[in-house]
Amino acid sequence: MIKEILKNIISKTHVIPFPEGFRISPEEAAKGMNFQERIDKVFGRSLRIRQVDAGSCNACEWECTALTNPIYDIQRFGIDFVASPRHADALLVTGPISRQMELALKKTYLATPEPRLVIACGDCAIDGGIYKDSYAVTNGVANVIPVDCYIPGCPPTPVGIILGLQQLLDKLTGE
């Protein structure tokens, strides 16, 4: 164990590189991933997200968890996932909103202090996805709480989620 730690400290800081063929649009590649400059106007370069699962199949959850692993590492942009909605600035909601989770989602939304954002992540959160019009589903987050941003995909890849957050911040800073 000690060897591992020393190896990580002594050797030059290296980041596990993004994979080959990593899908990023040419415009983004030209700009570079510098959307951290836009996380400033509202949140002062610090975004704390509370993830709420409202009936998803858990693929979107694992993609959100993958965002915190050493390869994608969203912490370097100043974004973090938090445990309590009271410490959060944004809610990232996944799932088609099963009816039995409606009340819990509303309460979580009300427990988040303003200013707050809601991000609907995944096809199910947009309009119900494959579960559209099932009896136990409310067909998307917008039918329960107001939404600020939609990230499509089933599930959206970690890169897709990062790009979606980037577009949200573009919208907030008026670009």
Binding site: D53, A54, C57, N58, P96, L103, D133, S134, C154
Partner: protein, 522 residues
């Protein structure tokens, strides 16, 4: 089996499924006979609304006998107005949730069931309304009230523990961290858990009814989205069910691809789970390493099939893409992963404080596991040597040479080591599959779906045994699709595993089972 066959009104055999229809109290006697005398495992129990066929409801109870490759199904038919059937829960505890679900969804009352509370539908769902019946229609106002959760139609009473110093702690449904929703009610004295009652089905999406609406072909896509991390196992089991229903045998090449991808899914799940358990004990180094290895495997999945979760590759009749053309990529990635994985395991097992927290925590005894019909890793860690790949060989598993592992300790450490051993087993299966080449194309010609026919599909997903049962109506559309994910069997065992542990150990026990809430809730 003659005992049952003598009582049977009707029998049917289809491939390895043997249906035996009995009546009245013979139902309970037959089930108890096969469970006790033949040491059978209760796999599945469900009801169907076959009133369009012959005016009756039917209840199917599926057993499998160790050492026998066949599935034994005992059928009971009920006609209105008599909507009750003898409950088998007092003799076979594993049936408890199945019978409650039948009651919630069909309105068939199990007589003698010790727990009269609702299971699937929460308090504000209208009373007397049974969603899976054929004549049930959506009433908007009822559904709205259901979502709002204010009007309580049938209250759910949690079991109360009385005593001095008992403190009731409710947790959920929204949990700390990125995890699915579920409610847990602990009764604790100080820090020790005396009793835990989980209440799930918050992510109930009405999947089974939705299958009936969208048809068999689209159903493959829906089956993948029941539980994200076992997408491929779900779609493999579903496609197997529909293929068996039409009597179709897929090509050897397709079987090999399905086997290979099932093992890849098992790999990324197990390694991810071992890394997650380090998050439960606070070992940040182990967690980060496990996450990196899992990410490499998910990226391999994407290169092979275009989807990180292996979605969109199964279709009824075979597979869509030939994975074997990426042979070199597979071999090199699996070699790299094997090396990293071995380093990670060495790190974890050398960290004594981590291992100390895992040992003797969350012990699930063999007796309770057997009685509750626990399946998968949790069962094998408690001494039940049951693996669908060996018990009911399907795809190419009959040809491969491997042994399922089991340990008798039943604690968190055992579940981690079972996952470690299965990882190494999967790696060797993948390597041996890559050595050969297989005949046939990717897809076999689809035959027409005969009316009123049914079949089972099953496989061993990373969490345990998985079953699908499909039945077609007179137009070749789905009449009933029943799915049972392994998490459904294992959730009732979690309270028994955490009994006697301290409350902060609960997340660690939960992570060691790693059950899917969505798979359970359907």
């Amino acid at each position: 089996m003659d005992y049952i066959l003598r009582k049977a009104i009707k029998t049917k055999e289809n491939l390895n499924e043997i249906y035996m229809e009995v009546s009245g109290y013979d139902f309970r006697d037959s089930c108890v006979y096969i469970y006790e005398k033949k040491n059978a495992i209760l796999r599945l129990m469900f009801a169907t609304d076959e009133r369009p066929v012959d005016g009756s409801f039917r209840i199917y109870t599926v057993f499998s006998i160790p050492g026998d490759e066949r599935l034994f199904i005992i059928v009971l038919s009920l006609k209105e107005p008599d909507m009750t059937f003898p409950s088998i829960t007092p003799y076979i505890p594993a049936a408890h949730w199945y019978e409650r679900e039948i009651r919630d969804m069909f309105g068939l009352i199990p007589e003698g069931h010790p727990d009269p509370r609702r299971l699937v539908l929460h308090d504000s769902f209208p009373a007397g309304s049974y969603p899976l019946r054929k004549d049930w229609n959506v009433i908007e106002r009822d559904m709205k009230e259901w979502g709002e959760g204010k009007a309580v139609k049938e209250p759910y009473k949690f079991m109360e523990v009385e005593g001095e110093g008992i403190y009731e702690i409710p947790v959920g449904p929204v949990h700390a961290g990125i995890i699915e929703p579920g409610h847990f009610r602990f009764s604790a004295v100080g820090e020790t858990i005396i009793f835990l009652e989980p209440r799930l089905f918050y992510t109930h999406k009405g999947t089974e009814k939705h299958f009936e609406k969208i048809g068999f072909t689209e159903g493959v896509r829906l089956s993948e989205r029941v539980s994200g991390t076992s997408s491929f196992s779900h779609s493999a089991a579903y496609c197997m069910a529909v293929e068996r229903m039409t009597g179709l045998d897929i090509t050897e090449n397709a079987k090999a691809i399905r086997t290979l991808l099932l093992e890849l899914e098992r790999l990324y799940n197990h390694i991810g789970d071992i890394g997650n358990m380090c998050a439960g004990t606070g070992l940040a180094v182990g967690y980060a390493r496990g996450a990196v290895i899992k990410e490499h495997l998910m990226q391999l999945n994407e290169r092979l099939t275009g989807s990180r979760y292996l979605r969109g590759i199964n279709i009824i009749g075979g597979v869509r893409k030939d994975v074997f053309i990426h042979r070199d990529d597979l071999i090199s990635t699996i070699d790299a992963v094997t090396k990293e994985y071995k380093e990670m395991m060495k790190l974890l097992l050398d960290t004594i404080s981590h291992v100390e927290r895992l040992e003797n925590t969350g012990k699930l005894s063999n007796e309770i596991a057997r009685k509750l019909g626990v399946t998968g890793v949790a069962a094998r860690a408690s001494g039940i040597n049951d693996d669908m790949r060996k018990a009911h060989p399907h795809l190419l598993y009959g040809r491969l040479d491997f042994e399922p592992h089991s340990m008798s300790r039943g604690d968190v450490f055992a579940r981690m080591m079972i996952r470690a051993e299965e990882t190494e087993c999967s790696i060797s299966i993948v390597n041996s599959l890559l050595e050969n080449s297989y005949k046939g194309g990717l897809v076999a010609e689809m035959k027409e779906i005969p009316p009123y026919s049914s079949a089972f599909g099953y496989t061993e997903s990373p969490r345990g045994s998985m079953f699908y049962w499909v039945m077609s109506d007179e137009n070749g559309e789905p009449l009933r699709v029943k799915l049972r994910a392994p998490s459904y069997c294992n959730w009732p065992a979690v309270p028994f595993a955490v009994h006697g542990n301290i409350v902060p150990d609960f997340p660690l026990c939960n992570k060691s089972f790693n059950l899917s809430y969505s798979g359970c809730d359907m």
